[in-house]
Amino acid sequence: MDADKALKIALELGADEAAAKRVEKDDVQIRFSNNRVDISNRWLEESLAVFIAVEGRTTGVEIKNEAEMKETIEKAIRFAKKLPENPDFRGLYPKKTGATGIDADVDSVDISEFPKMAMEAALQHGARRVSGEIHLRRRDIWLTTNYNSLHERRSEIISTVRVFNEWGAPGQASTHVSTVKEMNRFGPEFVGDKAGRLAAMNRNPQEGEEGRYTVLFDPLCFGSAVTEIGRSLSAFSVDMGSSFFVDMIGEKVASDVLTVSDEPTRPGAGIRSFDDEGAPTRNTLAIEKGVLRTYLHSNSTAKKMGTETTGNAADSGNMSSLMPSYWQMAVFPGKRGWQDMLSDIDKGLYIANTWYTRYQDRRAGDYSTIPRDGIFYVENGEIVRAWKEIRITENMLNLMKNIAELGKEVEPVDWWGETSHVQAPYALVRDVRITGPK
């Protein structure tokens, strides 16, 4: 199927603007648990979807095959004309976008031995059971709009390992890379080794105690908070009113040490040179030394808020709408190492991962989340025991304001949507509220 042809037909049939996106997908995933492979999956798919704007109305449609293309688009245009106007749509990105190319070269990597490499690295630390996945994602993307015709090949590898020790207590690590160079550093051996080390530390965990603690967050764990920050930076979420950053441009939203940028040009999952309406992507400094500088925009949200797009328009599903979404959140590193930061803690915790983040009040940022994969109680700079069964019950803005220090090393972390393609360092946060069932 041909995106250019779909665009041409849409315009001939009366669309004012259209964006046709074709994706050829060839993904391979190997899943393993209990030191054995469970399944090897492969996806061989092709999709073509067209965003259509006509007379101020918008819709999106999937095209199943070339023969049905004209009829499907014709039907979609008739469908769109019966819709109410969509005042949120302010036009597709109208300028010419030059192809820049991206740093993604893992598409020809053979991952078949990666599970074994990850398992062996974990088992070296005395692990009993290892589970995880190696997932190679390969996409050819063609995007054609009234103003641009673009193509690029995106590829990335996600490596996740979770390890269980003799007490059944886990450790976990998960990374994303788009280049062979990064893979050599953050590939299967890295995650196996790190998860194995965490599990080895997670000896006989006991129920934790409620209170307020200084917490050293692992990059994977801090990445989860950064994921929430990234989602709240979307101008769509701000416009709807569900973001905890509503009406805060120019305000101090975090401590001085926090600088966060969306970096789609940087190697890692989320790398791309153009967004889903054909705008060039760029690195966008969203929070600078704790001050909120900008939201993340599509062309439409930018026009609505009187600014320029940041190149974050994302297909929300069969091109039915183009809502801003971050591509790859990157936190600027600090100056100290993990051990140094740990030594600053008189009484606190080191937490490896969290999951199940839920909001009681999304607009205010009130939430809770559950630590897992290693919760370590620290006294006088030393880990003294492992904990279990606690919860972080906090406010996201308070958490951001209480960041005391960031680590000097940044890890590419990505795990199951909880932490979604983030570059994050260790983070030392003061006065974190810990609750539990005890």
Binding site: R42, W43, K64, Y356, T357, R391, P437
Partner: protein
């Protein structure tokens, strides 16, 4: 699509120890309204095939939506090649099950196909107008109306031949009410298997307006009580989420056996814990895909095994695990029909359907009259549970103080944070009422959100630690 599935079966069945094809066509429409603006509206069709093969103990799968002969051949070869490649590090078996041939569907009185998109958009506009004209400051109003008609064909090398046509509709809203005293938020998912005849019975306009009033009252009149142990009556919505999270998930055999370990986690329930006490002896928690018109309804699962009711906790004891053919083979038992795949591009894994607490014989008044001081938590907003399904939290959305057997004023954000045995062990009375809500249950990677119902009656829990 059935002829395509038959072609694929013919291509692959002689090349694997086990070979399975699942072909699906999904005709859908989605309307998304944000604060009164219809920001997305689409209808269309999604179709494709899942091919699963077992060769020498290795399992491989290929998923494709390309149906020309060359692409189908490539997908078949790919599934077999994937299986062969991992067989040296793998030992997958499936339980032996009878092969069925059947067709099933769900009746629609007002068919999805007969409802035009303009009418669906009008539904959302009417609710939007109802909310904005109510005078309550609902500053966030998000609505999604989705319908889907799924045609599915499951064919296996063992002779299974199941076809189905499943209609589902789903209305989701999220709202935030804000005032000087703060915000309260709510969401709800009204969903069922069937046609649009259900729309009016749901009364979404009335429900959303009521919800806005409840949130407004909670902000302005809701009291924060002193932390402490007290009695708690929970409504069906809270009963349902607890049944789903701390009974349904921990009894999924794949979690118990570790296959989901790196994602949703494992379980505090171990393979040898059947018969162990987990709650008071009046607690019966069930998962049942055959509840008529339920959002998770099916007659056969995605491995072609007949669906049936499963008693997960029976008389307060751990009773049965949810099984697919892979986990059943690992535990030396039979599948109880819990294999589900969220779409044609996903593998069938162990899932819930409709998970609920069986009703007892109390009325709400009878439960209230024995409570001197406590909380009635009718619904919840925030919740979460750890990855072994032991440490859980629910925060009340609509909640009231109970004093001397009577419901008094609104209580704001009461929190219970407790373990699974503490929750189910505290239950001393179960209502004779019954209600269900829709939900989308997440699991696996790539993510598989499957439609479910959660529910049950009111329940009374004694001496529970409450906090604010």
């Amino acid at each position: 699509m059935k002829s395509v599935a038959e072609k694929v079966l013919a291509l692959g069945q002689s090349k694997a120890d086990y070979f399975e094809v699942r072909a699906e066509v999904r005709r859908y429409s989605v309307n998304f309204m944000k604060n009164g603006t219809l920001t997305a509206s689409t209808e269309g069709e999604d179709r494709g095939l899942a091919i699963r093969a077992i060769v020498d103990g290795g399992m491989g799968a290929a998923y494709t939506n390309k149906t020309d002969n060359a692409s189908l051949e490539k997908a078949v070869e790919s599934a077999i090649e994937q299986a062969r490649k991992v067989s040296k590090d793998s030992d997958v078996r499936l339980s032996e099950e009878k092969a069925y041939k059947d067709f099933w569907t769900v009746e629609q009185k007002r068919k999805i196909e007969d409802v035009g998109n303009e009418e669906k958009v009008e539904y959302l506009k009417e609710i939007e107008q109802g909310l904005t004209s109510s005078g309550i400051p609902a500053v966030v109003r998000m609505q999604v109306l989705r319908d889907i008609l799924t045609e599915k064909h499951i064919l296996t090398s063992e002779g299974t031949d199941i076809s189905s046509l499943l209609p589902q509709i789903e209305y989701f809203y999220f709202m935030v009410v804000a005032s000087e005293k703060g915000n309260e938020q709510a969401y709800s998912q009204l969903a069922w298997a069937g046609g649009y005849d259900q729309w009016d019975r749901w009364n979404p306009l009335g429900r959303t307006r009521d919800m806005a009033s409840i949130l407004f009252r909670s902000i302005n009149e809701g009291k924060m009580l002193k932390d402490g142990k007290m009695d708690l009556i929970v409504g069906p919505e809270v009963t349902g989420i607890a049944a789903h999270e701390s009974c349904g998930h921990p009894t999924e055999a794949d979690r118990i056996l570790g296959r989901e370990a790196y994602l949703a986690g494992e379980s505090f329930v171990k393979p040898d814990m059947v018969g162990q006490r987990i709650g008071s002896d009046i607690v019966n928690v069930v998962d049942d895909p055959t509840v008529e018109h339920s959002f998770g309804y099916y007659k056969y699962d995605d491995e072609g095994v007949p669906a049936r009711r499963r008693y997960l906790y029976k008389n307060g004891l751990i009773n049965e695990f949810l099984q697919n053919r892979e986990t059943a083979a690992m535990t030396g038992t039979k599948s109880n029909g819990a294999a589900r795949a969220s779409n044609w591009d996903r593998e069938p894994i162990v899932r819930m359907s409709t998970t609920f607490v069986e009703p007892g014989d109390y009325s709400l008044d009878e439960m209230l009259e024995d409570v001197k001081y406590g909380v009635y938590m009718k619904s919840f907003t925030e919740w979460n549970i750890d990855d072994v399904r032991y440490n859980q939290k629910y925060v009340g959305r609509e909640a009231y103080l109970i004093e001397n057997g009577s419901i008094k004023g609104a209580v704001r954000r009461p929190v219970i944070e407790l373990t699974t045995p503490t929750f189910w062990g505290a239950v001393d009375a179960i209502g004779k009422d019954m209600d269900f809500v829709g939900a989308t249950c997440g699991k696996s990677d790539p993510e598989q959100g499957v439609p479910v119902w959660t529910g049950g009656p009111h329940m009374r829990l004694r001496d529970v630690r409450m906090r604010w």
